[in-house]
């Protein structure tokens, strides 16, 4: 890591804002799922918001982001509209994908959000192709792929690293290591340190505390600098922790706990990325309670608005599916 740049106060407040919007969104979705308001399941990233926020702070709409099944935070941080997110997850035609994709498939191509994905690891080939387009465009844009520790065991990771290294693709790998692959603790299914897997390809690597949004931001400063200056791909492994269940139906299917309540409580208490940033800002006397309250309120109101928008949506016509299958046009 060469860039030593840190986010300034206003950048920190934006990061905080983003994380809080994500948090409110997902707390709402947890409640919505429990209340039967979401037709499908949801995978929440509560506790992991610093990765989404820190990564996307360095990206413009021209940059592309491929995400995974746990992608609400990435969507919001990359500039996706929370209103369209909620409408989508509620299954409404006002949703960003017209209600066709749902939680696992949110995408807004106009903002470079090239899709969450239900196939673990599938963002890797897609982002490799997107980065090839960036390379061909040669306009300084880049692609980021966010994937989990579990996804790192899909061979497409190695395949993609090889492509990226060979072709010097402007591609950033962000492994969001939240400690678990579904119901398996990471170390039981994932050997070694994941980011080390990039090293044989000559791809530079940074491991950061994924709950420290400033650290993520800083690593991103380094990575984007590296990539945008034409030096090829980079890899960030962000160590974080999944607070919620794998999905909100987990309590119905998992009978033997794979982690302790105590561990979760400790993480929630001591490692919450939002609290950590708030604490630091206050310790450094960079904000007062009023400012923090305003951010909190704004975040909350954004999500309230989003929920209202979603609730006011209309389900897509029953027979709509076919019309989305093909462009039916040609050049």
């Amino acid at each position: 890591m060469t860039a030593n740049l840190s986010p300034d106060v206003s950048q920190c407040l934006e990061l905080l804002q983003t994380m809080q919007v994500i948090r409110y969104a997902e707390e709402q979705l947890a409640a919505d799922f429990a209340a039967g308001k979401t037709p499908g399941g949801v995978h929440l990233s509560i506790g992991q918001e610093a990765v989404a926020a820190g990564v996307c702070a360095h990206l413009s709409e021209n940059d592309q982001l491929a995400s995974n099944h746990r992608g609400h935070g990435h969507f919001i941080a990359k500039g996706g509209d929370p209103k369209q997110l909620f409408a989508e997850i509620y299954g409404m035609s006002e949703g960003i994908c017209g209600g066709m994709g749902g939680s696992m498939h949110v995408a807004d191509y106009s903002k470079g959000i090239i899709g969450a994905n239900g196939i673990v690891g599938a963002g890797l080939p897609i982002s490799t192709g997107a980065a090839l387009a960036d390379l061909l465009d040669d306009d300084g844009s880049m692609t980021v792929v966010i994937f989990g520790d579990g996804a790192s065991n899909q061979g497409v990771l190695q395949e993609s690293l090889n492509f990226a290294a060979l072709w010097k693709l402007p591609l950033l790998y962000v492994c969001e290591h939240n400690g678990f692959c579904q119901f398996s603790p990471a170390e039981t299914v994932t050997a070694g340190t994941i980011s080390d897997r990039a090293k044989p390809f000559g791809i530079p690597v940074e491991v950061v505390d994924g709950n420290d949004v400033r650290a993520v931001w800083q690593a991103m400063a380094w990575a984007t600098d590296h990539i945008r200056s034409g030096k090829g791909p980079a890899f960030i492994e962000a160590k974080t922790y999944r607070i919620n269940n794998h999905f909100e139906r987990e309590h119905l299917v998992v009978q033997t706990p794979y982690r302790t309540e105590e561990e979760i409580e400790t993480m929630r208490r001591e490692r919450d990325p939002i609290k950590l940033l708030q604490k630091w800002l206050k310790e450094e006397n960079l904000v007062d309670d009023e400012e923090l309250g305003a951010i909190d309120e704004k975040a909350s109101s954004i999500i309230k608005e989003a929920v209202a928008f979603g609730e006011a949506g209309t389900p897509p016509p029953e027979d709509i599916g076919e019309s989305y299958m093909f462009a039916g046009t040609h050049s």
Binding site: P39, G40, G41, E88, G91, M92, S93, C97, G99, M100, G101, G102, M104, H105, N117, G118, I119, V120, G121, G150, A151, N153, Q154, G155, C181, Q182, F183, S184, T188, V189, T190, V253, V254, Q255, T256, Y258, P315, P316, P317, E318, D319, I320, G321, E322, Y324, M325
Partner: protein
């Protein structure tokens, strides 16, 4: 007989076969915790030597089975969602389906793959497929899809004992459905369809997830005086052409109900067989009630619209019975 949940019947089959033959091993992503419940508790009985959680690596998982099975183990791989058949397709289509012939019959491949298929639960386009066709076409693997707990248990036990690869499709979201399961040990033969209702006016052929609605349709049709012969395909590969043809010939009118996307579906294959071998007895067009060639939308009504249901069966039936 005991009323048993679908998922419990599968779990019982696994447990009984693992008890019966210590060469039976089970692996797959989170088979210990078991997302669907079908492998739940087996780790406690059989331990981590024979029950193994794996990394997410479908390409290796399907290919691995060949190496382990050729070495004398009976391998059960749980693939979780049937869409992951595509993710691990090379191991199925290029390896396990080919290895026996390519070796000149040197090896047996006692492999069972379990996968949960089907739509209707807003799981969206990557978790709702019914990829019968993908594996039926490869040749070299048997394909079964039980429609009730008794057959689930009996077919899975047969699959595990078979010295050939078998893909066992369980209908998603039906785990809680109950059915009578015979006491004691029994096997449901692979390759045999079941005539589950006799009738003279119309033949309904269903399979797996579509059997319940098929039987419902038969009930409704009976109310209007149309007596249906109903067949549960149970095994898609090899197909029990004999039973299917006879059932079609008995009435001369056939509706086939399959949750696959229509193009190259199991329904289409059965239709093609009947249009060849039972043609002389047919009195009306062979109808298929399948899923259109469309990806599954997330929005529930738009998804449901695509899936087979009782009304669609009745509509198809009415078309050819009037005919």
């Amino acid at each position: 007989m005991a009323r048993t949940r679908f998922i419990q019947a599968i779990n019982d089959a696994l447990r009984e076969e693992m008890e019966r033959d210590e060469k039976v091993i089970l692996f797959g992503e989170d088979v210990e915790a078991s997302i669907f419940g079908d492998t739940r508790g087996l780790i406690d009985i059989f331990g981590s030597r024979r029950v193994r959680n794996t990394p997410i690596s479908e390409n290796t998982l399907t290919g691995m089975t060949v190496g382990t099975a050729a070495s004398g183990y009976r391998v059960v791989l749980h693939l979780m969602f049937a869409n992951f058949v595509y993710t691990g397709m090379d191991g199925i289509a290029n390896q396990m389906a080919r290895a026996r012939l390519m070796s000149g019959g040197q090896i047996d491949l006692p492999i069972t793959i379990i996968a949960s298929y089907g739509g209707g639960r807003a799981n969206a386009a990557q978790h709702s497929d019914t990829p019968f066709s993908a594996v039926m076409n490869v040749g070299g693997v048997h394909v079964v899809a039980p429609s009730n707990p008794a057959d689930a248990k009996g077919l899975l036990k047969s699959a595990i004992r078979s010295n050939d690869p078998v893909i066992f499709f369980e209908p998603g979201g039906r785990g809680g459905e109950q059915g009578e399961v015979p006491d004691g040990e029994y096997l449901t033969p692979i390759g045999k369809a079941a005539v589950v209702r006799e009738g003279t006016d119309l033949t309904l052929i269903g399979m797996g997830s579509t059997m319940r609605m098929t039987l419902e349709a038969a009930d409704k049709l009976a109310e209007s005086g149309i007596e249906c012969e109903v067949v549960d395909v149970r095994t898609m590969a090899p197909l029990d052409e004999d039973t299917l043809c006879k059932a079609a010939e008995r009435t001369g009118r056939v509706v086939i109900v399959d949750e696959s996307r229509d193009r190259c579906s199991a329904a289409s294959q059965i239709s093609a067989i009947l249009a060849d071998k039972a043609f002389e007895h047919l009195k009306a067009p062979i109808k298929r009630v399948t899923t259109p060639n469309v990806s599954f939308p997330y929005a529930p009504a738009s998804e449901k619209y695509l899936l087979p249901n009782t009304d669609k069966i009745l509509a198809a039936a009415t078309e050819i019975v009037r005919n």
